[in-house]
């Protein structure tokens, strides 16, 4: 049972990382980036190249990969979000465009790297540590710690600094923020960059568990959205908590139903949340077009 909870927490942290990055984009543009799972995958793939092929140390690899994926995220913005200008709420074009971009990322990655999964070095090596009678990898502790740190970072920045208010203001009304001298564009770019960097970190953290390959985030990506919604879009605390809840829920559901249904349960919970309480746990004001 304790191992189940630990693996639930670990997966939950991964979902939380995804949700945090999804959330920062939502906070600044009001939309969900449907290509986010693929950005995480790119983090993992570039990680492979940097750490396994070139031989950089893991920490350096994370930083470099973070930069690379941040650039990809910004490119994503320019090609799929910016063309819609300020009229993001007007249509769902950005949704299709980001979906399309995700498909492109995944398939080009497959062409370049082949589709089979590859092993990825875990943080802190492959030695097992025994804590309270349970064998865990150092890597798993790292996952929990890093996720917590990033969550705190976002929580502080978004909710407690002026930068954060500026970011949120950009989502509500671009023209007003422009009039106030804040460059809306710079805000959005910064957020996309941050989102990309966090995606890369997620890629590094998850690859040792799922093995690195272009298909690694197909289902995890969708669950990241679920986590963000369950916690409440617009709240970084929500993203963190939503992710953990989802991870534990998933782990527990395996004891109740056939493991094959666990994905179905996760999505069912997501659908129920949207139906009953779209604002999620942390009750961030949900804007329905009136």
């Amino acid at each position: 049972m304790p191992e189940l909870l630990i693996s639930g927490l670990v997966m939950g942290s991964i979902y939380a990382l995804l949700a945090l990055a999804i959330n920062i984009i939502y906070s600044t543009t009001g939309i969900i980036n449907f290509a986010h799972g693929e950005l995480v995958m790119l983090g993992g793939m570039f990680g492979l190249v940097l750490v396994v092929n070139i031989g950089l140390p893991l920490v350096v690899g994370i930083v470099v990969a973070g930069g690379i994926v941040a650039v990809f995220a910004i490119l994503l913005y320019y090609s799929t979000i910016k063309p819609f200008g300020d009229n993001l709420g007007g249509s769902l074009g950005w949704l299709m465009a980001t979906l399309g971009a995700g498909i492109i990322f995944r398939n080009v990655a497959m062409l370049i790297w082949g589709s089979h999964p590859r092993p990825f070095p875990p943080l802190g090596g492959s030695e097992l540590i025994n804590i309270f009678g349970v064998n865990i990898l150092q890597h798993e502790i790292w996952v929990l710690v890093i996720t917590l740190l990033i969550a705190i970072f976002f929580n502080v920045v978004l909710d407690k600094t002026i930068l954060g208010s500026a970011i949120k203001a950009t989502a509500s009304n671009r023209n007003t923020t422009r009039l106030m001298g804040i460059s809306a564009e710079k805000m959005v770019l910064a957020c996309f960059g941050m989102s990309g960097a966090v995606a890369a970190v997620a890629g590094f953290l998850i690859s040792p568990i799922t093995f690195a390959g272009p298909e690694m985030t197909v289902s995890i990506g969708l669950k990241g959205f679920g986590a963000a919604i369950i916690g409440g879009l617009g709240s970084s605390r929500g993203a963190f908590v939503g992710g953990l809840i989802l991870g534990i829920l998933e782990a527990l559901s395996m004891t109740v139903v056939t493991p094959g249904y666990k994905d179905a349960i996760v999505f069912l919970v997501m659908i129920l949340t949207i139906t009953i309480k779209p604002e999620g746990i942390f009750n961030v004001t949900y804007e329905k077009k009136v």
Partner: protein, 397 residues
């Protein structure tokens, strides 16, 4: 109104053009022997298609060097079905009706095979199956033109249990997934155990593609077996071994033997240290021993393939699967040569008369009631970690 007529005429013209192109025969060279091949070339299972392609291409090259098939030059046409039965059938139909293939090798997934085989039977096209292991696919009555060179699931299961019993293991545990393949394997293994008046220490099941294998590992450990038989998809198996590593329950504490997929290089790469000492199975010809480097032709072929796909490019290749597809193509040649005919019924009869054909992968025998080229007697236990030129080291007991 005029504009509307113009547009409508253009649309109709383009449709007509398309249909005309659809009618015209493809430009085939004079008297070529065409082998059509459909497999999964993209997506997560792309390596299956890759092995198919390499095996067939190498064989075709050799065949053409030695005079082709019945004097005709051989050309292979490959299509990607993305493991989707709908696409597989569409592509096979295109190959048969448009390209006019003479023989078919593939596909790489069981559901695709189920979708296309009835059509191949109706069109009387010889089919060589080099890597799709579903037991239902080979049935001389239902699918008279289908032959298989790869060991099927049921025979692998039987081999694993029989080997374990023969080697004196008493507490046999089995782990498999809950797919139809996995559940079928469970039944086959139970039957063998029953016939020896034995029961399994446990049958531990999990769901394919599960990320967390610790629960399964714990179940296995608590059953206290002396050997664990793994019928797991590659990535799942790797994760399982890593979970077993956490519980400190690996060889030599317990013997572990897996089916064919656990011999794949990627499996060992993914499992890392945890795969040390884990046994697998392979057909005899794909193996070597300390004293016997293997059949010279096979070794030569292996070296050739290795040379063509060095380093990283060769990472996801599995030599004995490639050999299997290589043998498929060679068997097509043999069938046509012996029957001196391009007719499926004649080729079928010729193949059925083979009771000992030495292929790269193994020695095959067919008959009118048995279209499976291999049987458990042709398999051996191997240590897949000791590869030499892609061949496996036999484990001597």
């Amino acid at each position: 109104m005029k504009k509307k007529i113009v547009i409508s005429t253009l649309i109709m013209l383009s449709f007509l053009v398309m249909t005309v192109i659809g009618i015209s025969p493809s430009i085939a060279a004079e008297k070529e022997f065409l082998i059509g091949s459909v497999g999964c070339m993209s997506g997560p299972a792309a390596m299956l298609g890759k092995n198919l392609r390499i095996g067939v291409e190498f064989a075709v090259e050799e065949i053409n060097k030695t005079g082709g098939i019945n004097g005709m030059n051989v050309r292979a046409i490959f299509r990607d079905d993305e493991a989707d039965p709908t696409k597989a059938l569409t592509l096979v139909r295109e190959l048969v009706e448009k390209e006019k293939i003479h023989a078919f090798i593939g596909p790489t997934n069981t559901t695709c095979a189920i979708a296309i085989q009835p059509y191949l039977v109706a069109k009387k096209i010889i089919q060589l199956n080099g890597g799709t292991t579903g037991t239902v696919l080979i049935d001389p009555k239902g699918f008279p033109y289908s032959f298989r060179t790869h060991i099927n699931d049921k025979d692998q299961a039987i081999f694993l249990v029989k080997e374990a019993i023969a080697n004196g293991f008493k507490r046999i545990a089995v782990v498999h997934d809950t797919s139809a393949l996995g559940m079928g394997v469970q039944k086959d293994m139970k039957d063998v155990l029953d016939s020896h008046d034995m029961t399994a220490a446990t049958f531990a099941t999990y769901n394919a593609n599960d990320i967390d294998m610790l629960p399964v590992a714990r179940k296995l450990k608590s059953a206290d077996p002396d050997i664990i038989l793994m019928f797991t998809l590659m990535a799942d198996g790797a994760r399982l071994l890593k979970a077993m590593e956490r519980l400190d329950f690996l060889p030599p504490k317990v013997a572990i033997q897996g089916y064919a997929a656990t011999a794949l290089p990627i499996f060992r790469e993914l499992a890392g240290n945890a795969s040390k000492g884990v046994w697998s199975l392979a057909p005899y010809n794909s193996t070597y021993s300390k004293t016997d480097p293997g059949l010279p032709e096979v070794v030569a072929l292996a070296k050739k393939i290795e040379a063509a796909y060095p380093g990283d490019k060769g990472k996801d290749l599995n030599l004995f699967t490639i050999f299997s597809y290589y043998d498929c193509a060679q068997l097509v040649r043999v069938g046509v040569a012996r029957s001196k005919s391009l007719e499926a019924d004649q080729i079928k009869a010729a193949l059925e008369s083979l009771d000992s054909y030495e292929g790269a992968q193994a020695n095959y025998s067919f008959s009118s009631t048995d279209h499976e080229g291999l049987d458990p007697s042709k398999l051996v236990t191997v240590d897949a970690n000791q590869l030499k030129h892609g061949m496996y080291l036999r484990v001597e007991k």
